[in-house]
Symmetry: C2
Subunit: 371 residues, 2 copies
Amino acid sequence: MHLGKEHSHIENDPNYKGLIVNKGVEQPPSVNPDAARRFLQKRPQELTLAQYVDGILAGDITILSRAVTLIESSLPKHQELAQQIILKCLPHSGSSVRLGITGVPGAGKSTFIEALGLHLIEKGAKLAVLAIDPSSERSKGSILGDKTRMESLSSTPNAYIRPSPSAGSLGGVARKTRETIILCEAAGYNTIFIETVGVGQSETAVHSMVDFFLLILIAGAGDELQGIKRGIMEMADGIAVNKADGQNIQKAQLAKTQYSNALHLFPPTRSGWIPRVETCSSILSEGISNIWDMVEEYMHKTKSNDFFNQNRREQAQYWMYESINEKLKNNFYHNALIKNKIAEIEPLVNSGQISSFEAARELLELYNKQV
Amino acid sequence: MHLGKEHSHIENDPNYKGLIVNKGVEQPPSVNPDAARRFLQKRPQELTLAQYVDGILAGDITILSRAVTLIESSLPKHQELAQQIILKCLPHSGSSVRLGITGVPGAGKSTFIEALGLHLIEKGAKLAVLAIDPSSERSKGSILGDKTRMESLSSTPNAYIRPSPSAGSLGGVARKTRETIILCEAAGYNTIFIETVGVGQSETAVHSMVDFFLLILIAGAGDELQGIKRGIMEMADGIAVNKADGQNIQKAQLAKTQYSNALHLFPPTRSGWIPRVETCSSILSEGISNIWDMVEEYMHKTKSNDFFNQNRREQAQYWMYESINEKLKNNFYHNALIKNKIAEIEPLVNSGQISSFEAARELLELYNKQV
């Protein structure tokens, strides 16, 4: 759009009546050339395997984060490098306490993690907080997506917070998180929290990679439980009844008694540990140390009866098999011909026109012809 | 061996001093020729597909049993015929009540099944009792292996009792049982019990093929629960506290209250149904009708909110996918090279020398090179 004659032209034209645009002052460059140079220098360079491993073992958070990004990447080149890093880190991993934390949204999980995390860091711990939330792609990261949820913790040097890997299936997300545990442990984090939302399948995955599984509930056994998936309560090694503060204290105590009685009816755990219920207030940081005492007692008990090591070995095997099974299924279900055939055959199964097993047989026959 | 001269020779020889064998009376044939002829006539002839289907639809127990034997056979020829029979029976199946029954040995499962079964048959039901017990090959059929466990029921014309298929993996056993359900329904059985022992993985399989899942417990929440697998209680749509008789009545009532309170703490089921606890005495046949009332109430509720149909559709899909996944895994893990490699790599995973995921990758690479 032409708003007026250029100043230089009209400067010497006394008859000009139009809009006069004054010559402006030269604008400073929008980018500080010094800063740009520094930024370019700081830009991630390709690191060698040795640089990654040394950096992680030295506890360098930036390098740790970049290695985790490799784990999360789907590029084959990145995956290969990630596997080599993990292999080198494995001998330096394994000596942490791995704590799974679940609870429905609204139970105060992040406040709890912040309170417990700060308590442990005060006692000298190095804490990594990871998450498994396969829905995070859809929900744009419902948990740990926003570090500001744990403001104090995320500004503490001895805490490393990493949101859930967002891509893909539960199996994929779980694999990435489990590999990240190894790197975090090699980087010196002696306490690992794995957060998850107690509404999906992900609890089983988390349960299979932690030593202790903690369920966060709130007082009033009614509507608050609506979102918790059936079966999760039986997985718990401990329950924390959160928000036991102010007018809630009595209700929380009552809930504690009720849950204790319920847990008492469950068959004993394989660990020989009897799950316990404690109340706490994350906001007031009250009762938080009791909950950690429970975890430590559990660790002591399972390390002396050797369940701890046995469980870790079984978990390692579990993940090997899980990982194979996941891949076998992916290959099958991502096959284009199979996809089409499933779309065609599923309605017939639903309406009882062919049996589930005959449908499976036809699909497998089609698949075997191809590979 | 020659014991003496033949009678005919020595008859006319007065000087003979040796052993004389008297001519014997001709023995009657050890096989009654009439019976043998009848037996040969009755001996299973190869039936045609149409004969199988017509027989099943006419409620012929002998033909039904032979068809189930085809389902259980591992011969490809039998499998193919079985699938054709199932296909023809499918349109005539689906209209029964499918009840899963679990409980540890000692809870009185078979007495309970007998009591409930006779109660239903008296009311006009046709009952098929099936079982899933993948351990039965090893334990020589710990459940339903011996029909004499349910004497009165097994001598009732309207009851069909079939022990657990004994061969192979849980997936295989479960498939066979699920296919047997179809044939039983087509044969006019309007009530199907699937029995399982509450100690293994099989409950999930049973839970995925029944409408209502009943857990049998006994009074005294202590040692009796030792054997029940964690997680099973949360699957139950109802609990029967059995052996509520004699001096046990009060204990059973107390147990009922405790379990009710515990169930109340669980999150609601997807069906919208609130699981209930009832006491009963199978030996005295007391309280048995209450338990069936509970099942009928459940059926009414889930049929009116459409959970019933939705659940059945989901179950059909579940079995299609389960069946595929099972087969994919079988192909992999039964591969000879893979077996050797697993034996080699598992100790490395256990001792943390290589990561679970790297081990999985190597195994898959080896497998893909072959197929």
